[in-house]
Symmetry: D4
Subunit: 246 residues, 8 copies
């Protein structure tokens, strides 16, 4: 490592104090300072590299997948179409596609799962794609997941029949479109952190999911936080960080 | 009535056909045509004249109240401050002020109430002023009213303990601010028309009640309609029209 | 039923009071408690199950329709394309398609209609698809319906020539796009509840129907409530609940 | 005029061609070019100088009024408070204050009025301040004005009883808040240009007048244009330009 | 006319006063009352029937065109595609298509034009489709039109070279997208009514033309009014009403 | 407890099975079912009762505080003014006021704190009130807290000098107004859950905190979730739930 | 030049003073006055003519390109598709296409570049198209450019490793979508003018780039200004004007 | 400096290489690394520390001013009220207050000004406070400034008479409210960078300055960038960085 070399040279007297200071400032130290910070994305942020497929060409995805596969890196691609999966399968025959979630997953080795689980609760059937993106992401990150779907507030008894399963989770992801009321109802029934995911499901004054987003931000139940519209991936990332706390 | 007079004169020959037609067109008929429509606001729309106090001077209100009082018209003033009540009390000693609702009410005679009742459901204590405006208006219009307050979704068991009282109503007004989830939950539990009133209670991304308004418009429960933010009066008007259907 | 079994066991002494209480709490009671609430959607909310076709695959719709048809459940599908109808017709030869409304309807038996009727008033010819969705839904729910179309405010005499028909209704659905003025005009002429449906008809500063929606929410006529943009279905559900009040 | 002087000097030979060209370019011509355009604001745009009082100190207004008064210029101040009027009255004892319109007017001589008139139509009593600003401005600009107030769409018979007076105008200003429906109704009844003025009257989803503004922009009646919220002054300026066309 | 008949019968005694009144109210008067108002759209509003092609099927348009053509009514279709023109041409061989304006026009007889003209000013070449819609509409309504295109504020000298032509108009339509500044600049240079038309030309924070619309509503130049985004047709309707004032 | 009584009576034979079932259903069970759910807010949601002072009268607050104080419940009041504190101090002499946070706190006994800590990071000095509300709330809920203030992105070296302290937390609350960039930067540097709190600090296109809110929702760093604008309390509630996970 | 001719004629006496003045006013002077202003766009604004391809037909582009090519004018076309390039290549075989930037460039002669450079910094790979549009435009205008891509705030060490290269620039363009935080971070690290370009990269509450735009406008770092969403071209124009200052 | 001490100790052998590396990493280097970046805000960003008075108490401002004054730092306070000035004057008798700009300035020594100047152009008199904030800031930063006020687009000849003064600047700040058209007009007339500042001057659909902001972002003139609403300070900071480029 060059800082060591520099310090040794300085000790030996082959470089002056001024020069040492200068080099540390001009080149070495910044790299060093951030080397400490960087090492790798996974160590730094707890979340490994993931492929966001939307807006990438098939060729670009093939190249990324090849690099990751041959480096022994586990693969998660989100927002992937069937076409993208065709490409990935050629490179990684063992890859698995979740048509609803639009995710592609590949693990080089068997993955250990956490003991505690993340509950993924979805209001309606049309919210399932986002819920599945969250579920696949959470599993990819090594979390045990329980799916509780179609328990929207307009038929609230269905929610109650699953309440103990939800309460057993360490952290809960709640996915809802339209009026986005489910996180508020659930937030009043559980003593666990709730991450709310608004979806763009709806029409008219739904405003592409803004109605649900605003409702969730204004929840009367404390202990709820919100991610971007349709952002199942982001919710799962935070839930994973929480679930892995010891 | 002048049209009768005109027709009689015409029959007697004191006015010609042309003149009769002309008068009917120029003055009479339009009046007549709309007299049929008009007679009075109450007959026409089912809702009597009401004083919206906001933006009126005390002097203006005194004059309106005096005219109504001496014509034997029952009085409802909404959005009335304490100061306004002082003025009204001088003219109408029997007037009653609801400090929470900001309403002033006076009936010349005992009012008969409907048999069926309107349930007025409010999510939080801060939604009570709007709920009370609705309640006072509904009662003024001759409706029996049941108040069910502080049953917001974050403590949903409180709502369930009142569910039969709510179900017994002919029509339900649901008042809620913040995330506006209560109408959706209730809409899934009752088989009666629900009128949702968003309130401006909240802060930040609440946007002065728009968050609750949008949530209610996007409700996943069918059978719900919505009025303007903080419009307890309007909700009560529609509820009264519904409650009085035979 | 397991609660009965539990109570019998308890009486027999094979389970203790503590245990009985515990089981009631942990498993039995919740189910029981909500069984009372649930029974079925139709009983609970007054609105039966309906198929919202948008976003469903043809295969999903075929399966839902088959299940409903063979269970003797009447069928209403909204937002259905011609293609969807092809699929439904194979399963249910007697199904009827309303091309304008984009609805598919099938009744197993002759339906009884209400005596009172719902007036469905539409401002322009482009508002007719939403009006027809409302009309088909209202009829499906067993209501008599009167359609009064193309009576927008820019040619207000057409509205007046139909005013008595409108006044004869128990409840009025008013469908309008662009400036959304029709409900306000009508609200000043009738003494019946008015449910306003904004449509996304228009362009530019119409904002996908928000202009009409805002206008309706701010109506100067009391007794009006509003549903989501293009939500003819929702308006008909509420109108049906109102029309069926006795 | 200096250009004449320059040309004469040039002809006499006291300035060279180069210098003449240079002066024309550098100073003279631009002034000249725009003198043609400018002369005065009134000639250029048909609208004289007017004092917009909002945001000006009393001292600033006193100075402007003094300058105008002593130069023989007629005075119109808009958005003027009672306090501002006190100041103006000291300088211009003959000035008149319209408390509703918040306008101050002074004419040095008797004003001739146009033969044709501008109809100023207002929906509700709360729209009157904006209507009065328009009326005062139109009169100040020399127009005959007819005021038709309190003819909102929720009691449309009142509008019909005034329809011939409105039709007799050369141009119509329509002032309305809340749902802003009046211009559309009127636009369907008259064959004259309609200038719509949304007001900020209302609350909740009124959005400070945006609801009425959007409604007016989306009017289903052709022949309507719109000015800014509460901009009675601007509407009167355009109406005056139209009314004075020969 | 049936009212005359009724009145004659009444005079003759073959119908009673009561009956006459009843018939007048129930049938006759309303028709009559509004016959006065109605006669026809053109008489009532100064604007004849026009075909808005967007959202109509080719078959619908063919039927409308056939009816109008065979009734001797002049034809204007707006927002018409090439395909629509193919259909119209079959019915009306003499119809003319303006590809830029997307308008189809047919006159049965030679049209007389007004003496005064409408100036149609467009900022950029991409604003020309809207400007042409305005021009074609204005001409169809019998107005002389002068087109002044590509005179946007970023090259303001081009505007000045046309200023006298613009000033010669009785009314000016100004079409601009992006920042929508042209009406303000022009409003400061002319003493004629200016109707501003924002276009949806632009991208990003243009918000589909809202940026230009807001700019125009906030113009610092008095005497300007605004129509909806891309609404060349509406601007021409109002301009025509103004241009035809005597 | 009445359910126990009922079951005993049933066992004794004084009530039948049918009657027991009926009572359980009609009254008892629902209460019971929800008693299980309810018991107390703290058990149900992990967050005790808290006083939101905004919009409450001093008298209302005095009553709430008295009830809580005499019931031995610890007290947290948020959004409390100095005036409110005067009132509380009379009832609870030991109460402590944080002027910046606008919080009042009182504990009956010494509180045990968690071992792990919540890092509360604030971008600018004007974000400190919201950060302090979060800090006071988190401490009230029994959490150890580390404050790291004035480390905004415009002087990012200040953030880096505190990075190890931030990384040592179990969960991080990041409070920022204006462009709301700090959570994104931090989210890329830590492997712990980040809860972002937008503040209304700023002006102009800040839109009362919406700019920061939108920025945070769109963060390019995964593992971030967001609460409402200025909602330090809500962020602390969720952070506490996370921090207490074992 | 005709003004010279006119002045000579006037001096010779063949035109009178009146006539000279008249001609100067009516024709000559305006041309002259603005000739001074105009000459050409490049001289006037420092930016030559550029082809904005979006919304132009291939035929229109061919004609523009032919005119420019044969007049010896250098060519830059932005927002050009592959298809457009096919057309251009036929006319200008030497033209070069940047697929990412969607730009076509052709220079008749070798271009001299500025000594100082513009740094173009992009946050993510999806921001590259906009960054490349800026880079190609800046180079076309004669600027030396340094590209620093993929240095977004979620991995801030990458930015630091390039900080000296960025600091060496005379002006910095920063391109970022999503939360748009990069300009704020960079603005705190450099003493050069920063032009921020928000991109429409993102989804949900990104609102087509408005989230990033608002964040940039609210930057806590002074010395930053912003252009329209995705407007790499505009940013480069301003950067070029700055870079060429001496 | 401690790094120097550390390196000397290391050379002397009193600390090992490991320890030196460790200290450099853990404490020293980060400080050092950023010391290079930091030293002072002025060196780092070209903009010295400035006091934003809004939201600070008088006591806070007194303390900041005292610290700066006694450290020999020049003082600029923005958004300062008269009250604040009273406080500052006590500490710094030589401080100067600009009532319009709401700025307080104090220089310890005579300031050298740049040779080139910044032109500050304001559309209307109500835009002057923002323009003055920009002017005072620019001067404080050592720039020569030329003020060109009241040259809005509605009287464009006034702008032309100042065009050469504006063109002579190295960089131009253009301040405008209402429709925000001035930067577009100016951008088409000058070959210098233009920084546009929207102001909140206006009412109604002005939306607190958003109308002007959007107009400026959508300017059809290239070479324009925009800062936040009313942000004269920020515009001056960027202009200063540009003006000082050599």
């Amino acid at each position: 490592m060059e800082v060591i070399k520099l310090l040794e040279d300085y000790k030996e007297g082959s470089v002056s104090l001024q020069e040492t200071l200068h080099v540390l400032k001009e080149q070495g130290i910044e790299d060093l300072g951030f080397a400490k910070i960087d090492t790798s994305r996974q160590v730094r942020t707890g979340i490994p590299e993931v492929i966001y497929s939307a807006g990438k060409t098939k060729e670009q995805i093939r190249q990324i997948v090849e690099r990751m596969y041959h480096s022994g890196i586990d693969i998660l691609a989100t927002r992937a179409s069937e076409d993208v999966f065709e490409v990935v399968k050629e490179v990684v025959p063992g890859a698995k596609f979740n048509q609803l979630a639009k995710t592609i997953v590949y693990h080089h080795n068997n993955q250990e799962k956490t003991e505690g689980y993340i509950a993924i609760v979805a209001a309606g059937t049309s919210d399932m794609p986002v819920a599945e993106e969250a579920a696949e992401t959470a599993q990819f990150l090594g979390n045990k997941v329980e799916r509780i779907y179609d328990v929207g507030v307009a038929g609230i008894h269905r929610l109650f029949s699953k309440i103990e399963l939800i309460r057993g989770a360490r952290v809960i992801i709640v996915v809802a479109g339209m009026e986005g009321a489910l996180p508020s109802v659930l937030g009043g029934l559980v003593a666990k952190p709730v991450i709310a995911v608004p979806t763009s499901v709806g029409y008219g004054a739904n405003l592409g999911g803004l109605a649900a987003l605003l409702a969730m931000l204004n929840s009367c139940a404390a202990g709820i936080s919100v991610v971007n519209i349709d952002n199942g991936f982001g919710a799962a990332c935070q839930a994973s960080l929480i679930n892995k706390l010891k």
